[in-house]
């Protein structure tokens, strides 16, 4: 029983991270119809940004959130303006954009090898080892913090999308860009901002994940796969759907440890992806885009 609670708690704690990761991927696809294959690379880059800020400047990873988010946003804006803007979109543009963004990931990865070598790193702060007693078990303070950020940030984005002119414009561009142009929305600007926001979420996810897990320049593919599973399961950019899907993935992954050898649990996400695509290709919660 105690083990059950332990596992349930660690699943919930992971879900916030998964939601943050996936929301960025879903948002970019929902608005631009581009699968950002470089997502995993940005997650890895976010981890290194936090690591450098912590190692060189002694900045606590939670204090460096605004810096990492800001830098990742700018990285996304640059990626959009230099690369993505020129690509064909939608089904027709699939192969071209997939290859280019995958190529960009390889560039990021190799840059990280050059700068930081291939060694595993992690961000350990003075309070990394602290824990909080809750529900009769001890919960690591970092994981609790990751959950907090992972819940607050998607909720904040949800509010932005729902209640601001910019957010409404983003949702409208996802549905019908020409109508947006007609009412005076600069659609290219919305694409740039959306790509920036999606990338910022990836960077944030990388930073959060670096406070829990070890990482190296090759990291990111597992995260990308998990993001895919959550997006396919939860729908594009629906905050509630993303949250529930993230929780489902986390629960399944964590409890898989009970029934299969640990080296196989990494395949759980992949199996879920295939199952969902076969059984419910539209996702568990229908086709709603953003909001």
């Amino acid at each position: 029983m105690e083990r059950f609670i332990d596992l349930a708690v660690s699943a919930v704690l992971l879900a916030g991270l998964y939601a943050t990761m996936a929301y960025g991927l879903g948002m970019i696809y929902g608005v631009l119809r581009v699968v950002n294959l470089a997502h995993g690379g940005v997650i890895m880059a976010g981890a290194y940004m936090g690591w450098v800020l912590h190692g060189r400047l002694g900045l606590d990873p939670y204090l460096s959130i605004p810096l990492v988010v800001g830098a990742s946003y700018l990285l996304g804006v640059g990626m959009y303006k230099v690369l993505v803007r020129h690509l064909p979109r939608g089904a027709a543009g699939g192969p071209a954009s997939l290859l280019l963004l995958f190529g960009f990931w390889l560039v990021l990865r190799n840059a990280a090898y050059l700068l930081f070598t291939g060694n595993d790193q992690s961000i350990t702060t003075t309070w990394s080892t602290r824990s909080v007693a809750l529900l009769g078990t001890h919960i690591s303070a970092t994981r609790l913090a990751v959950l907090g950020v992972g819940v607050l940030v998607p909720l904040g984005l949800h509010a932005l999308l729902r209640h601001t002119h910019l957010g409404r414009a983003i949702r409208a561009v996802a549905q019908n860009p020409d109508s947006c142009t007609l009412v005076g929305v600069d659609v290219e600007r919305i694409y740039t901002i959306t790509f920036g926001l999606g990338t910022a979420l990836a960077g944030l996810a990388g930073l959060l994940s670096a406070t829990i897990f070890a990482f190296n320049p090759g990291s990111g593919s597992g995260e990308l796969l998990k993001s895919f599973v959550v997006v396919v399961l939860g729908g594009l950019g629906s905050v509630l759907g993303t949250g529930i899907a993230a929780l489902i993935l986390a629960v399944v992954e964590v409890f898989a440890i009970l029934v299969m050898p640990s080296y196989l649990t990494a395949a759980v996400g992949f199996i879920m992806l295939v199952l969902v695509l076969v059984i419910r290709p539209g996702g568990l919660f229908g086709h709603r885009v953003l909001g």
């Binding site: 002119h165 409404r168 409208a172 020409d178 109508s179 947006c180 142009t181 007609l182 009412v183 005076g184």
Partner: protein
């Protein structure tokens, strides 16, 4: 005679290799209500896309209040006072009616007056007020058309283009839409109406143009066009 509000001057428009408009020219004067007629595929929608900038001409020029639109980005044209009710409504189906309307006033000039214009639109179409919290995709065809017209009115345009607003509507609703267009015109808005429903279009408008495979074929007052034997044969089935 009032001056030209919109001047379309010898425009060519192509989709890839296929040229759709050929040296098309016409004018709409301030205060007029004009119909653009033409059969399926004649290039009516393309003409409106050229004016709004969604499909810029490869040759020729379009002037609005004397100013060439070549250097005006499409998204900045709403602020000049033009609005389009597109063919097939083109609403944001998953946004609410109210969100659709509010986005109609996205431009910097229109945004401060959202409240006033919402009220105006709700007075014109009380149905939209009742349904403002529903997503636009759940509206009936007639209500969607009202929503599309309402969205265009949110920027207080002085020039309104409507692309087949009666398409797919029951006769009773067509009456209502035409009546609304006449009212908007009476309220001071210059109107360019695209229609296949020739009867109704000529009833409400003062002048008309007929285009055929992207070229101007005929123009004249609505009364003249309605009497024209060629038109009667081609469009009215008489």
């Amino acid at each position: 005679m009032s001056e030209a509000l919109l001047q379309v001057q010898a425009i060519d428009v192509a989709y890839g290799d296929i040229q759709v408009l050929h040296q098309l020219s016409f004018e709409v004067r301030e205060g007029e209500i004009v119909t653009l007629l033409g059969s399926n595929g004649a290039g009516k929608t393309t003409t409106l896309r050229a004016i709004t900038g969604l499909r810029p001409p490869s040759a020729g020029d379009i002037r609005f209040r004397g100013q060439s639109l070549q250097a005006v980005p499409p998204a900045a044209r709403a602020s000049l006072g033009m609005a389009l009710v597109p063919e097939g409504r083109e609403l944001w189906a998953q946004l609410t009616v109210r969100e659709n309307l509010e986005l109609g006033a996205y431009g910097p000039q229109a945004r401060p007056h959202i409240g006033r214009n919402l009220e105006r639109v709700f007075t014109l179409f009380p149905r939209l007020a009742e349904r403002q919290k529903q997503v636009a995709g759940s509206l009936s065809g007639g209500e969607q058309q009202m929503c599309a017209i309402g969205r265009a009115l949110m920027s207080e345009p002085s020039f309104l283009m409507l692309d087949e607003p009666s398409l797919g509507l029951a006769p009773l609703l067509v009456d209502q839409v035409m009546k609304t267009i006449a009212e908007l015109h009476a309220g001071g808005i210059t109107i360019l109406l695209v229609e296949q429903n020739l009867h109704r279009a000529l009833e409400v408008s003062q002048r008309g143009f007929v285009i055929e495979t992207g070229r101007l074929r005929l123009q004249g007052s609505s009364a003249e066009l309605a009497e024209n034997p060629e038109i009667r044969a081609a469009y009215l089935g008489l």
